[in-house]
């Protein structure tokens, strides 16, 4: 299971990469594996407000629905529209298939580094 070093992670299995005040957010390899085949995604729109620790959308696998929790508070700058027609990209390329980009960040969840996140996965796995 891949856990890239350069990313930060939430306890609810989102990954986040911050650059120049913009946070790119997706779900981890562990998350996609646990979900199984992702068949549908509900996304916010650019300009929507997101709140750290709260849902900004959901992903549906064949089996169940899971909320997507935002690691940061801010304004949605962009959403990955490709995922609407091809949500399975979250399975095949979880770290390439970003979900939203957030700007004007004003709050953050507690984030884990790769080592701590790996430990968390080991515990849950």
């Amino acid at each position: 299971m891949a856990i890239p070093n350069e990313l930060r992670y939430t306890k609810s299995h989102e990954w986040i990469k911050e650059e120049d005040g913009v946070a790119v957010i997706g779900i981890t390899d562990f998350a996609q594996n646990a979900l199984g085949d992702v068949v549908f995604i509900n996304l916010p729109e650019a300009g929507d407000e997101v709140v750290a620790g709260e849902s900004f959308g959901d992903v549906e696998s064949v089996k169940a629905v899971s909320d997507l929790l935002s690691p940061v508070s801010g304004i949605v700058q962009a959403v990955n529209e490709e995922l609407i027609d091809a949500p399975e990209m979250l399975n095949s390329d979880p770290y390439g298939a970003w979900i939203i980009k957030v700007e004007q960040i004003n709050d953050r969840e507690e984030l884990l580094d790769a080592d701590d996140y790996e430990a968390l996965c080991a515990e849950e796995g």
Binding site: G36, D37, F40, N42, V62
Partner: protein, 882 residues
């Protein structure tokens, strides 16, 4: 998870990398590494293995086994024959479901009941309490036997590899079989929970479970988990206990008749008697029937019913989501997810599946009884109302080998015609008709065995004036049974019919002939109607009884629609109160040759069923029918059984080279006059009854069921044409019939020599009729027939007795009659065999070869062709303006 129970295949799942979950106390694979979507798709197009060993397997034995099962199950257990299974429900006293189950009868004296894993303990408590009152035993054999569901279009092929080609079961749903596979005894049921038209559930000793699982994996089956099992059954609209049965979203018990399958699973047959839940179920059934008639008063017992539902707008439905129409809550989703499918191209038989896949959000719901198919509703998905619709179904299982997804399309409104501008279309029609005539008559090689081309004289007579007239007539006793005609201007026509009757009487060797029926199927309908009338002649004050038992050729073994309950027997065949099915029984066929009736087995069937009516004849026909042997047996048994031979295909072969039906013991012969008999398209009924016979009145009834029973206008043009064809036949039949049989045998041998797989018995050169059947590979018949047509050769694609449906046709059915009539000799058929092999086996374009061979034979044989005859025919043509 250490307390969870494990199946015999637990290690196999771990070896395959399964994700294991707790399912009703069992540690089961939810999915394997390829994932639910891939597993679903692989099942639909290839074959998947499901470990269903967690389900409860209960054996019921002992003298009162049937009485016990009738008492605790909803179904009619007595209707279950050996090697049959039935879906059933274990009802509670209130008409709800304790569980749903499948009952299997592999042996005469014991039944196997398979119940849901999570309910097994509950079921056992209930059943063990109930069985105390009955002299029989219930044994939980779940640990002794494993079960594997082998589901998908390749399942039969794979399992037959293990059986060494031995047939697994009959091809119909719910058939059972016991087969040796590589030294192990395997019990198979043609059942499953995926909706696959080809799918089996296999019962095998626990110690052999891994062997079977691994052997099937070696043959390219793949494992599929509970996740795919759920999406597959949802797409197939099969209920799941805990979702569509049991308790609903509001905590209320779901009545059994809310589920459409209840119609089949619940029986109120008199011999079933009282059973647990019968009374409330009978009340539910009353409500169910009202709802089917769109009456919603007094249907409180069934407020909601199970329907399929699919989303029009984007989203995914889940269990317990509320459904609204307007502001009114109308029901709840009971199951829902996103399901994948292969995208199809083309239409009808040319439908082909691409490698491209897509997904659709579908589910099942319990919804108000007044909601109908195509109604738009809204599903509340986490606070958002998402548009949805009730489709007719999600999928069709009726076109094997595939389960075919049906994507929702809204009903279309036809555009009214504007009624102008038809001259151009009329002109186009003439041109197209001319092209078609030329192609079918002079350019292509037609091998459809149910067709022929009538001579020019027959064609001209058919088009002459009687084609536009009426000539109703009836024998009137007051006039010494002379025919009375109801129309004027019919003297010529009257004479024609007299002559035709005489010619056909001579040809068939019949005492009486009815020629007014205008198709072979109508001939049969008139006879069936007459038989039923004859049966009820002594009591007209009650509803007439239908016919039964009837011994016939099953459609899957070459029988024709005109002797099937779904065809011409539909309104005349009884329902057997014991089996609650049509009172027909098929002729047993030889195990090594499904085209041939097994006479000895047939005698046993006659002894058991005492059929009142036996219908010989079929449309896929390679052999003579054993009329003489069966007549002897019926007489020996002292039965009054009526024996009919439907000679539709072989009417033109009556005589020395094939069969003489009346000499052999048939009482009634029906047929169509345009197959091997080369007349225009009509029907015929002949009988051998004489005025002093008991069944003479049956003949009188046949006449009246022809007119006024079947026709008012009996198509006088073709009746005139048929008289000419009858003159031709009675003049040329010896040569024609001999050549037909010789050509067919030679054609079959040449096709075989060219490397094609010719069906039938090589010892008789494969055929005793005009037909030749060639196997081209499972489900490939249509493609090959299309390819031949593109090259100018017209054949039927045909399902063999080993194939499930015409959509899975793997054979070509051919006849030599029309080409023989155009003068084809054995040498020509040898050439044709080689051309066809080039096209079928070697993939060559043979258009030119076909055109050349055909162009050498455009002159009709076996008809009058001398100068004087042609001169007179020419003057008729002049008058007709040809």
């Amino acid at each position: 998870m250490s307390e969870l129970k494990r199946t015999q295949l637990y290690n196999a799942h771990l070896a395959a990398g399964a994700t294991m979950v707790d399912f009703g106390g069992w540690e089961m694979p939810i999915q394997y590494p390829s994932g639910i979507v891939a597993e679903h798709l692989y099942t639909r197009h290839f074959c998947s293995l499901f470990d269903v060993s967690h389900m409860g397997r209960l054996l019921i034995e002992g003298p009162a086994r049937v009485a016990f099962l009738q008492h605790v199950l909803s179904s009619n257990v007595q209707a279950l024959d050996i090697n049959e299974a039935q879906y059933c429900i274990i009802p509670n006293a209130e008409g709800g479901a304790i569980d749903d189950a499948y009952l299997y009868r592999f042996e005469a004296d014991r039944y196997l009941l398979v119940v849901n894993a999570a309910n097994t303990e509950k079921d056992l408590v209930h059943l063990r309490e109930q069985i105390k009152a009955f002299d029989c035993t219930l044994t939980d054999i779940s640990a002794d036997y494993a079960s594997i569901a082998v589901q998908g279009p390749k399942s039969r092929e794979m399992l037959e590899k293990l059986s060494g080609g031995v047939q697994l079961t009959e091809l119909v749903k719910n058939a059972l079989g016991t087969v040796e596979m590589e030294g192990r005894t395997v019990r198979l049921a043609k059942t499953g929970y995926t909706g696959e038209p080809l799918g089996y559930e296999v019962f095998i000793k626990s110690e052999d479970a891994e062997w079977m699982w691994n052997r099937l994996l070696e043959l390219d089956a793949r494992p599929a988990g509970l996740g795919a099992r759920d999406t597959l059954r949802m797409e197939a609209m099969l209920p799941l206990y805990g979702h569509e049965m049991g308790v609903d979203a509001e905590g209320k018990e779901i009545p059994i008749f809310s589920v459409p399958l209840a119609k089949f699973a619940v029986s109120f047959a008199p011999q079933k008697g009282d059973f647990i839940g019968r009374e409330p179920l009978a009340r539910q059934y009353e409500a169910f029937q009202k709802i089917q008639n769109r009456i919603y008063e007094g249907t409180e017992l069934l407020p909601r019913r199970m329907m399929p539902i699919t989303l029009i707008d984007r989203g995914v439905m889940r269990k317990d989501m509320p459904i609204y129409r307007g502001e009114k809550l109308v029901g709840y989703v009971t199951s829902g997810t996103m399901v994948p499918y292969y995208v199809a191209e083309g239409e009808g038989m040319a439908t082909a599946y691409t490698d491209e896949t897509a997904k659709r959000a579908l589910g099942l719901c319990l919804i108000d009884a007044d909601i109908q198919t195509d109604d738009i509703v809204y599903v509340d998905i986490r606070g958002k109302r998402i548009k949805a619709v009730i489709p007719r179904f999600h999928m069709s299982v009726m076109a094997p080998p595939y389960a075919r997804p049906i994507l929702y399309t809204p009903p279309v409104q036809g555009k009214p015609a504007d009624g102008t501008g038809y001259r151009a279309e009329a002109l186009e029609l003439i041109k197209k008709a001319a092209e078609n005539h030329l192609w079918r008559q002079k350019q292509c090689i037609n091998l459809i065995p149910s067709e022929n081309t009538p001579s020019r004289a027959v064609q001209m007579l058919c088009a002459s004036d009687p084609a536009f007239r009426y000539a109703e007539h009836k024998k009137i006793a007051a006039f010494y049974d002379n025919e009375v005609f109801y129309y004027q201007g019919t003297k010529f026509i009257e004479h024609v019919e007299e002559l035709l009757v005489e010619q056909m009487r001579q040809y068939l060797g019949a005492t009486e002939v009815e020629t007014r029926v205008i198709s072979g199927q109508m001939s049969n309908t008139a006879v069936f109607s007459s038989l039923m009338d004859f049966k009820n002649r002594n009591n007209r004050k009650v509803n007439p009884q239908r016919l039964g038992y009837i011994l016939h050729n099953h459609i899957a073994k070459g029988g024709h629609l005109s002797a099937q309950p779904m065809g011409a027997l539909h309104d005349y065949v009884a329902v057997d109160p014991v089996t609650e099915r049509n009172a027909v029984v098929p002729f047993p066929v030889l195990p090594e040759n499904h085209y041939k009736i097994d006479v000895e087995e047939t005698k046993k069937v006659i002894d058991q069923y005492r059929p009142e009516f036996i219908v010989f004849g079929k449309s896929m026909v390679l052999h003579k029918e054993p009329v003489r042997e069966i007549r002897q047996f019926v007489d020996q048994m002292g039965l009054q059984t009526t024996i009919m031979y439907d000679m539709a295909h072989v009417l033109g072969l009556v005589g020395d080279y094939f069969q003489k039906p009346f000499e052999e013991g048939a009482e009634i012969v029906t047929g169509s006059t345009h197959k091997t008999f080369f007349g225009p398209q009509r029907g015929i009924v002949g009988v051998n009854y004489k005025p002093e016979d008991l069944k003479w009145n049956l003949w009188k009834t046949i006449e009246s069921r022809a007119f006024p029973g079947s026709v008012s206008n009996h198509h006088l043009g073709t009746q005139l044409g048929l008289l000419m064809a009858a003159y031709e036949m009675n003049t040329f039949k010896d040569e024609y019939q001999r050549n037909i049989i010789e050509n067919a045998k030679h054609f079959a041998k040449c096709l075989k020599a060219e490397g094609l797989d010719v069906a039938g018995d090589p010892a008789i050169s494969y055929t005793e009729t005009h037909q030749v059947i060639v196997n081209v590979g499972y489900a490939l018949g249509y493609d090959v027939a299309e390819r031949l047509e593109a090259n100018g050769i017209i054949v039927n694609y045909q399902a063999t007795p080993e194939e499930e449906s015409f959509t899975a046709s793997g054979a070509l059915r051919m006849g030599v009659s029309e080409m023989t009539r155009f003068g084809f000799t054995k040498d020509d058929f040898a050439k044709l065999a080689s051309i066809m092999a080039d096209c079928i086996v070697r993939g060559k374009d043979v258009t030119e070869e076909v055109r050349k061979l055909r162009s050498e034979h455009t002159e009709m044989k076996y008809c009058f062709n001398d100068e004087a005859f042609n001169e007179t025919l020419g003057s008729l043509m002049g008058i007709l303006g040809v």
